[in-house]
Structure formats: C-alpha cells, structure tokens
C-alpha cells in the first residue's frame, strides 16, 4: 500500500536518478559529436588527397561525359590564362624599366608615412595649447568674418561683438602668456596650414603605396600563374574533382585506376562509413535521452497529482512502476553506455585504411563494419547491439540470413 505522500517521495527520488542518467547519456553524446567533427575534418583532407591521386593517374581525356569535358575546358582556360599572365608580366616589367618586380615594395613608403605621422603628432601637440574656449570663440568669429565679412561686420556692430572679442583677447593673452591674441591667431593659422600640408603629403604617400601594392599584387598574381602553373592547375582541377565527389560514390573507383587512387578511395569510403556509424550511434543515444525525458515528464505529472493528496492510496500497478522505473532505466543506461563507448572508441580510433583496401580488394562486397571489426584489436560491442543501433549492419545481416 502506497499513499500519496510516499508516492510523491518515491517519484522525487526516481526523477533525480533519471535526470542524472540523462546527463550521463548527454555527456557521451557530446563526445560522439566531437568525434564526428574530427572525422569531418579528416574527410575533407581525404577528399583532397583523393582528388590529387586521381589527377595524377587518370588522364583528363579519359574522363567520361560532361564532367570530363568540364575538366578539359578548365584545363584549356588555365592554359589561356597562363598566356595572358605571361603578357601581363612582360608589360609590368616593361613599366619598371626592366627592374625586378619580385619585391617591388621597399620600406620607403612606410618610413615616409612614419615621418609624416611624427610630424602630425608634433603639430597636434603645438595646436593643443590653443584648445580653450576664449581662443575657440575668437577663432570662430574671425573665420566667420573671412567667410561673410559684411554680415559679420554688421552682426558684430548690432550685437556688440567687439566687447566680447576684447574679453576673449584678454583671456587668450592671460592663458598663453607669451603672445597676444593676434599673434596667437597667426600662429594657429600657421600651424593649421602646416597640419593640412602634412595631411596632404601623408595622403599622397599612402596613395603611392597603394598604387605600388596594387602593382605588386597584379605582378604576384601573374607571376604565380606563370611560375606556379602546375600547382595552380592541380589546385583548380582538384577543387572541381572534390565538387564532383560530393555527388558520386567513390566506392565505384576500382583498383584498376591504380593502388594510390584505390587506397585514397578506400580511406574516403571508410571515413564516410565511420561517420555514418557514429551518426547512427548518436541517434541511439539521443533516443535514450528522449526516453528519459519522457519518464521525467511522467514523474513530474505524478508528483503534481500525488502531493496534494498525501493520504490517498495509489493504484498498485502505478506503485510498482514507481518502485522500479529508476532502476530499470539505470540498467538500460548502463548497457547503452557500455556498448556505446566500445562502438564509439572502436570505430573512431580505427585508421588502418591500407588493410581495409586489401580486404575490399579480395572481397569488394564485404560490409565495411565487418572489415573494420576483423582488423581492429579493440573490443567491439555484441552484434545484437550493433544491429539495433546501425540499420546498415542489420540490413546486411538480414540479407546474409536470407542467402543462407
């Protein structure tokens, strides 16, 4: 007999235990996600390696269909680009009177810029002493008078501006001490003009530097096309091949294309499978997490109902479920984590792609998971668990069983 009070207490305990299980599963799922990220990076490298090997072995003209034509067209375009780059290089070198263009930039621009910046700093320091209100007012009034002399003369007269200017002038003399207002205005004007001149010179040097940099960039681009043609060609064609691979099954590439291509292909295929298996495993872990979430929802619902009725007797079936739910979930979680860690570790650390290539060579239809299990020294989980987690393995087993 279990009353509402006891049921609520039992449910609280189960809730806490299942939340802990959920956190353990989540930690494992996060580790699988990290492994998947690492495999994705490996896969990108493997794709590049595959494309490079492929390009070495297979003549472009041998490639079939539209894709082959695309590659040939790209090759032709690259050759034309090289011709244009050679012309550009000759023209650029001619503009320099035959002077070498490899390092067209020296530090004269930077040192001139540094000198101008130093000059500007010094001028700003000198101008700083004129930064006070009375001087700013007088300067503004004089600047207005320069722009609109008749209006300013009238405005000074009707607003008694001369008395203000006399006061500002007195404040300027008192502040600066070594010059009167008129001398201060002249000195400020001289410094401002000099500041403007240096800013103009600085802009001019920067423009010259930018022009030289643009020339150097054009030269660098042309130089690379001409002198690093093979590298550029390989990079460009590899990029095309990698795009192509995104849509095609590299497993179709046979050993007849050459050992290196086959090995690179096997590495790609195996990495793809490793990603597939770990993605399936992640799905299984997330399924377990969802189940626990569902249990916590049920337990919270039960607490909500039982807590306000401490004396009410709980149905025996529900009481029995309450007593066992946390333990049964714990058993399932322990089994899941034990096998999940074995599968995760075994799949992730395996990297003997040459052995896989050999095995696939002798048995092209072998399941990659079985090849991997046969080659690794890691303890893999029971087949029943793997079949439950990885649909590909289960389908293969069903197929084998039907054949037998």
């Amino acid at each position: 007999m279990l009353n509402g009070l006891g049921a609520a207490a039992l449910a609280e305990g189960a809730l806490s235990a299942i939340e802990t299980q959920w956190a353990e599963l989540k930690a494992e799922a996060n580790q699988v996600r990290e492994s998947l990220s690492a495999l994705a990076r490996d896969h990108q490298q493997a794709l590049t390696a595959w494309a490079q090997e492929y390009l070495k072995i297979v003549p472009l003209a041998d490639l079939d269909g539209e894709f082959g034509l695309d590659l040939v067209a790209t090759e032709v375009a690259l050759q034309e680009q090289r011709g244009l780059a050679q012309e550009e290089l000759r023209a650029l070198e001619a503009t320099r009177g035959g002077a070498p263009l490899e390092s067209p930039l020296d530090d004269r621009f930077e040192s001139a810029i540094a000198n101008h910046l130093t000059e500007l700093d010094a001028l700003r320091d000198e101008l700083e002493r004129f930064e006070f209100d009375a001087f700013a007012h007088l300067l503004a009034a004089r600047q207005r008078a320069e722009r609109e002399p008749r209006l300013e003369a009238l405005w000074r007269f009707v607003t008694l501006g001369s008395s203000r200017e006399e006061r500002w002038s007195a404040e300027i003399e008192a502040t600066l001490r070594d010059m009167d207002a008129q001398a201060a205005l002249q000195e400020h004007h001289r410094l401002s003009a000099e500041h403007e001149r240096v800013v103009g010179a600085l802009d001019a040097v920067r423009r010259d530097r930018d022009a030289a940099q643009a020339l150097a960039s054009r030269h660098q681009a042309a130089w690379e096309i001409v002198h690093a043609f093979d590298e550029v060609r390989e990079r460009t064609l590899c990029a095309l091949l990698r795009e192509r691979l995104a849509d095609e099954d590299p497993a179709l590439v046979t050993r007849s294309r050459g050992d290196d291509v086959f090995l690179a292909t096997t590495r790609l295929v195996t990495l793809d499978k490793k990603r597939l298996y770990l993605t399936d495993l992640l799905g299984a872990l997330e399924g377990e997490m969802r189940q626990r979430h569902q249990r916590t929802v049920e337990l919270r619902g039960l607490i909500e109902i039982a807590a306000p009725r401490p004396d009410e007797v709980i149905d025996e079936a529900k009481a029995s479920w309450l007593r066992s739910v946390a333990d049964s979930c714990a058993d399932l979680k322990d089994r899941m984590l034990l096998h999940s860690r074995a599968l995760h570790h075994g799949v992730f650390v395996f990297d003997d792609y040459a052995a896989v290539a050999d095995r696939r060579n002798s048995d092209p239809n072998a399941l990659v998971y079985d090849v991997l299990c046969g080659l690794t020294a890691e303890a893999m989980p029971p087949d029943a668990f793997v079949r439950a987690v990885i649909p590909e393995v289960d389908r293969y087993r069903v197929f084998e069983e039907a054949r037998e």
Binding site: L151, A153, L154, W155, V158
Partner: protein, 135 residues
C-alpha cells in the same frame, strides 16, 4: 545706421570703421553722419522702409540697452515702441531678445539662417555707394 552710431554723441573708431564699410566709402559715411545730426529718430523711422533693416536696427537698440546688464522700465518701453513702430514679427522680436540677452551675458550668438536671410534682404548687403567696389 548713421543715426545709431552717433546717437550717444560720440562716434567710436570701431563704429566709424563699420559705417565706412557698410557705406562703401568714407565720404558716403561722412555724408550720412552729417545728414542725421540733430534729427529725431521719430523722423527717421518712417524712412526705414525695408523690414530687414528694421530688424538690425532693433537688434542694436536692444543690445545697447542691455550693455550695462539690465533693462530699466524706460528702456523696456522704448523697445516696445520701436518694435510696434517697425511692425516686427513676434519670432523676430524673440530672436532679438534672445541674442541681446546672450550678448549681455558675454556669449557669442553666430548668425543663423534667419539672420542671413534678413541680411540678404537688407540694404546692408550692398554698398551704399554705387561706385564702390563690391566687398
């Protein structure tokens, strides 16, 4: 303007320089000063036909009245009479009051767009001497 310059019986050097500038030449300024000597403002007011000229005259009158930092009742009444005689718009009267108060506090009030527009419409925008070179 010549009347205002000599209103206190003394033409300061700065005032004379301004009058010379506005008149376009010293001789025209001299003639203007002679013409207004001993003439009452009441007589001159009807002769100030341009609204913009009236604005600047009223501005000068207000700032002069406030030069000592305060307005006595007589100065306030005189300003009201001037504003009424000149038929100045309320927003222009407010502008005059505001600028003159700032000037009395020693603050600068640069000409704004309204002042510029009035200046452009005033007789001060061009020289009084038709033969003087443009400023």
């Amino acid at each position: 303007m010549a009347w205002m310059v000599q209103a206190d019986g003394n033409v300061a050097a700065a005032e004379r320089a301004l009058l010379d500038t506005l008149a376009g030449s010293r001789s025209v300024a001299e003639r203007a000063l002679r013409a207004v000597q001993g003439v009452s403002l009441d007589v001159l007011i009807p002769e100030v036909e341009r609204y913009a000229d009236r604005f600047f005259i009223a501005m000068r009158a207000r700032t002069c009245a406030l030069a000592d930092g305060r307005l006595d009742p007589g100065e306030i009444q005189a300003f009201h009479d001037l504003v009424a005689a000149f038929q100045l718009l309320p927003q222009d009267v407010a502008k005059i009051t505001e600028v003159a108060a700032a000037a009395a506090r020693g603050e600068d009030s640069p000409p704004d767009d309204r002042v510029r527009a009035l200046f452009a419409a005033s007789s001060f925008v061009t020289s009084l001497d038709p033969e003087a070179p443009p400023c």
